[in-house]
Subunit: 359 residues, 2 copies
């Protein structure tokens, strides 16, 4: 047994080329589970606790965050999401990057600075260790760049045939001085977006369809929105914010309209969209408005702050940042699009039939 | 579309007997996702925010916990786990109860009072709504009884063939005045357990093997350990605590021994085990020491507090609570069992080959 375990360890630790696969035992809660956590997962993450509490460092039953003076009067923000995507590796990212950015972005749009994450990973028996570590590395790179601690997590293995690939859930923890919600829209507010729509959804769909995506330049927009939100908050009043995920711009705008009982009036010619997204959308027969994004946010801001925020976004590299519309009282609860032809159409919350699946 | 959606809604809301199944669209992020969250998930949970923050109530991108004076100087404790089990419904519980108790227990053994949970649920396309709501109800019953808020969550659907059944991840949040770790063992401490071992693992295995479990009285011990830990803390000094999960008593004791660099000396005849667990273990050919528990904790406590805590546990209904051993320096890092025959054997951390799988 001891010999076995040692030689197994060599496969993934010392970095030989030999391919090794995850066994059911790695999720069993015994010695192999400790091994994969101690040897493969834990060492990848440098920041393993916050404020001197208990963290991944200790591998205890939970982690702790001492509530110090530094936190008093502020808000802890928490969020949880699960991630499944097919293919697991896609142009512009993979499920690891997606899982990190997803939770970070939910915190960012609440006005919080992400400080810690916990994750749970479920893989199928036989999942290649090489893919597993590649996913972990993407996850870790985002956390490292954003200075976010991994406080803990869980790792389980399902028998083959019961799961295809990998499911990751993440819980994000952030700190905010003031919460930004999705319910603060005011009539007259401008609606801003930080970049082109549908890049994540189009990249995934094109990859699923077996199209050569890389050469066209199409790739997922998956990225952390922490700085984007910070810059917005530094340059103006943010009345409401929402990151675009599944269901795309159409879904997010409809949530704004419904929750605030206002209309959102959008100028179609202002909605930024990359050439390649448009091309793939036409080829695949989907409306780019419902395509998922993973690095785009819409915010509502008073008219006087709108230009300043858009300019700030552009100068940080989001060249397609744009004022795409405004909040009116025309038809409360509805999203109205002024089309290129000059007409007006209602954009409804997308339904299953038209939302392309990304897993 | 509108008509469709209304009639669909009737199937699961007004409670007709008609069986309905979860569609891919329910996880797509569009209208169907809003419907299942607004109509099926959200109304089940009464406590939807804490301390006046943002919670499930608002269905925003995240939830918030205002850090008030009440929290200052204390510790926030967080934990995350994923749950897969086969069968999903088993004697004594189901995956919903398991997911709630699992996170609660990780918080409880850290000395925290659980106050909030977030969950992520991934189901396969075609999963029966009837089973889904039954699982949600089990989950909710635990939260309600324990006065724990559901702050938020996520719901996704995987195409059939990619997932068999359901995977739930939960993130628990608790508050502690003082953290209890698994690293506070002192030589001379007594090791206590609150009840018989292996009931969860034996029940699952017997159900997997198609044995008639119900009639024998065998059922999972899955339950929240909040009160058990509270009572221990009120009746003595708790130097360390750990709930037994996968890998059972053998795994937990080995973690105590390894992390604290002490030996744990256990009197085999003192380890409580129900007749039916013993019978099924023999029938199934597994060592009950490695069978999973979901409602058992081991704690280390000074000798003078041990009897008092065990008595308190017994009078709250845990009749099999027992002092099962002590902390020595005989062979640091090892768990030693004094067998019924009088010999001593080393109990190692179980490995994959002998840990029965429960999913």
């Amino acid at each position: 047994m001891e010999g076995d375990s040692r030689s197994f360890r060599r496969h993934y630790i010392i970095g030989e080329i030999m391919v090794s696969r995850i066994k059911l035992a790695h999720g069993g809660g015994g010695r192999e589970t400790s091994e994969i956590i101690e040897n493969v997962i834990k060492p990848r993450f440098k920041l393993r606790k916050i404020f001197g509490g208990v963290g991944l460092e200790e591998l205890d039953d939970g982690a702790s965050i001492p509530i110090t003076e530094k936190l008093y009067g502020r808000h802890l923000v928490v969020t949880s999401d699960s991630y499944t995507v097919y293919p697991i590796f896609f142009p512009g990212g993979d499920i690891g990057k997606l899982a990190a950015c997803g939770s970070i972005n939910d915190l960012a749009v609440m006005g919080a600075k992400p400080i810690a994450i916990l994750d749970t990973i479920v893989v199928e028996e036989g999942f290649p260790i090489k893919d597993f570590t590649r996913i972990l590395d993407s996850f870790k790179q985002v956390l490292e760049k954003e200075n976010i601690a991994l406080l803990g997590g869980d790792f389980k293995v399902m028998p083959s045939g019961k799961l295809d690939g990998i499911v990751i859930s993440t819980m994000g923890i952030g700190i905010a001085d003031k919460i930004v919600t999705d319910r603060g829209l005011k009539v007259g507010d401008k609606i801003l977006i930080n970049g082109g729509i549908g890049e994540h959804g189009a990249a995934i769909m094109a990859a699923q369809a077996g199209l050569d995506v890389e050469s066209s330049g199409l790739k997922s927009d998956v990225q952390p929105l922490t700085r984007v939100m910070q810059v917005a908050l530094e340059n103006g009043n943010v009345h409401a914010a929402k990151d675009l995920t599944r269901g795309g711009l159409a879904s997010a705008l409809n949530e704004f309209a419904a929750k605030n009982n206002v209309s959102i009036y959008i100028y179609e010619d202002k909605v930024p969209i990359k050439e390649e997204v448009l091309a793939y959308s036409e080829m695949l027969g989907v409306d780019p408005l419902v395509l998922a994004c993973e690095g785009r946010v819409i915010i509502a801001t008073p008219p006087e702050d709108a230009e300043k925020i858009v300019d700030a976004w552009r100068s940080m590299g989001f060249e397609q940042a744009e004022i795409i519309g405004e909040v009116t009282l025309e038809r409360p609860g509805y999203v109205l699009f002024e089309t290129l032809a000059g007409g007006i159409r209602i954009i409804e919350k997308p339904t299953g039939e038209i939302v392309p699946r990304i897993c």
